[in-house]
């Protein structure tokens, strides 16, 4: 109750443009929002861009928050929508993966990503995290969303319904199909690796 009261006070302060209040407000949900964006976009920089854009949107449109759901859920919904917008915009663009990345000491390193599983990885641990996440990218977007939100981020069905703006029944039916689809995708990848 006290948290809700504090949250309401912080929201009111943030509405008037108080950055400190807003930072306190989003402190608890920021990391989860970043991880959600990262699972959607699978790129650290993109995830940070989308997270920043989402949080600025939240700050700007805070007066539109009616309180019909939890504030955190409202933030995640904006993050998911921004991720979808980002993916839609970059759908037809060729993905350019930067080889250059600045580390903490300011030195430039060249990274050459190789997502293809090595033979040993395929045989020894075909169900590794990276493999699953790769396969997750192969399934339809709606099913991918559900898997990310439910199985990776651990949101409840109700929260997922609010984030994706659909009913709980839809979420439940979608999650089963999504899991089956992911399993099938992993199997196909396993078969291709065997060949």
């Amino acid at each position: 109750m006290a948290d809700v009261y504090n949250e309401a006070i912080l929201i009111e302060k943030a509405k008037s443009g108080d950055e400190a209040s807003f930072e306190l407000l989003i402190q608890n949900c920021k990391t989860k929002a970043y991880n959600t964006a990262l699972r959607y976009l699978r790129d650290e920089e993109d995830a940070m861009d989308v997270l920043q854009e989402s949080l600025i949107k939240v700050f700007r449109h805070l007066n539109k928050f009616k309180g019909d759901c939890k504030f955190d859920t409202w933030v995640y919904r904006i993050v998911v929508n921004t991720c979808n917008d980002f993916l839609r915009k970059n759908k037809n663009q060729r993905t350019n993966v930067s080889l250059y990345r600045t580390d903490e000491d300011g030195e430039t390193m060249i990274e050459i990503p190789d997502t293809a599983p090595t033979p040993s990885e395929v045989f020894d641990a075909k169900l590794t995290t990276s493999c699953v996440l790769n396969c997750l990218n192969e399934i339809p977007k709606e099913q991918k969303d559900i898997i990310i939100l439910r199985d990776i981020q651990g949101f409840s069905y109700e929260e997922i319904g609010q984030i994706l703006n659909c009913s709980m029944g839809t979420v439940k039916s979608r999650i089963n199909r999504a899991r089956q689809k992911l399993k099938q995708s992993i199997l196909e990848q396993y078969d291709r690796s065997c060949v």
Partner: protein
């Protein structure tokens, strides 16, 4: 062939078992995907963007507040202006229509006087004002207007001479007087009667003969144009102009009716020796 089929089924069963096991593993893996911390560089750029947005929001709120204040002032000013207009209009109407200053302004009075007096010549108040000899311009005009009826006979007499359509009884002066009477009759409801050249007030006898004329000409549309009383015999001579017969046809003919001894006669017929058409029975 059957052996191949059995082999295929066995393979599927094995795969399903593997997959069922794999589903549990898959969910375990998904649940255990590690949470990644937000890179430190994000905080720096985010706080800058946040400050920028915060200042923008504050400016916007100030602008909105100023706009609302301005709207409020505009509303107050508009309300005050509307009230002022209503009060001004009310005071103006009071002064113009029912106010105490009504009639004080000589200019207004002079503009109004001729119209009101000419419109209603029998206005006693105006006559009173005019007779008092008030020295302002309006009163002088009113006086001039009041003198007009006295000058009317000249105009009427000229018209009679020019038309020459009416016969006088004895002399030109009588004819003129008759035409004056005709003019008065056209403007007044009742017809006055004259004795020679002198007009007399309408008596009960006169009104009795007028009623008899009405009865005599029942159904006709007519107009009494003249009435003369013979002072010696006490008879009345009515000049009547028949406009329309009872069938609605236009007649447009003059007629002279004589009223004597309580009866009405057609003057022309009676001179020819006919019996009177009707009487006051």
């Amino acid at each position: 062939m059957e052996k191949q089929s059995d082999l295929h089924n066995v393979t599927i069963d094995i795969d399903n078992e593997i997959l069922d096991n794999d589903m549990e593993k898959l969910l375990a893996i998904l649940h255990n995907v590690p949470e990644v911390e937000i890179p430190d560089r994000f905080e720096k750029r985010f706080s800058e963007a946040l400050k920028e947005e915060g200042s923008r929001i504050r400016k916007e709120r100030l602008a909105i507040a100023a706009n609302e204040k301005r709207k409020w002032y505009l509303k107050v000013a508009a309300t005050a202006a509307a009230c002022f207009v209503v009060v001004f209009a009310s005071v103006s109407m009071y002064n113009d229509v029912i106010g105490p200053d009504r009639g004080v302004n000589p200019a207004e009075e002079s503009a109004d006087a001729p119209m009101s007096l000419s419109a209603d010549m029998s206005n006693d108040n105006a006559a009173l004002d005019a007779s008092k000899g008030i020295d302002d311009a309006g009163s002088i005009r009113a006086k001039e207007e009041l003198t007009l009826p006295v000058e009317q006979p000249v105009t009427a007499m000229g018209r009679v001479d020019a038309e020459g359509s009416r016969e006088s009884d004895s002399n030109g002066q009588d004819a003129g007087q008759a035409e004056i009477y005709y003019g008065m009759q056209s403007s007044e409801a009742d017809t006055l009667c004259r004795e020679g050249s002198k007009y007399v007030a309408a008596t009960e006898e006169y009104w009795m003969y007028r009623r008899l004329v009405d009865e005599y000409l029942a159904g006709y549309e007519y107009k009494v144009t003249d009435c003369e009383r013979d002072s010696e015999t006490g008879s009345y001579l009515f000049e009547v102009h028949i406009l329309m017969d009872p069938e609605g046809q236009i007649v447009d003919e003059p007629m002279i009716l004589r009223g004597e001894q309580g009866e009405i006669h057609d003057s022309e017929k009676s001179t020819e020796g006919d019996e009177p058409q009707t009487d006051s029975d």
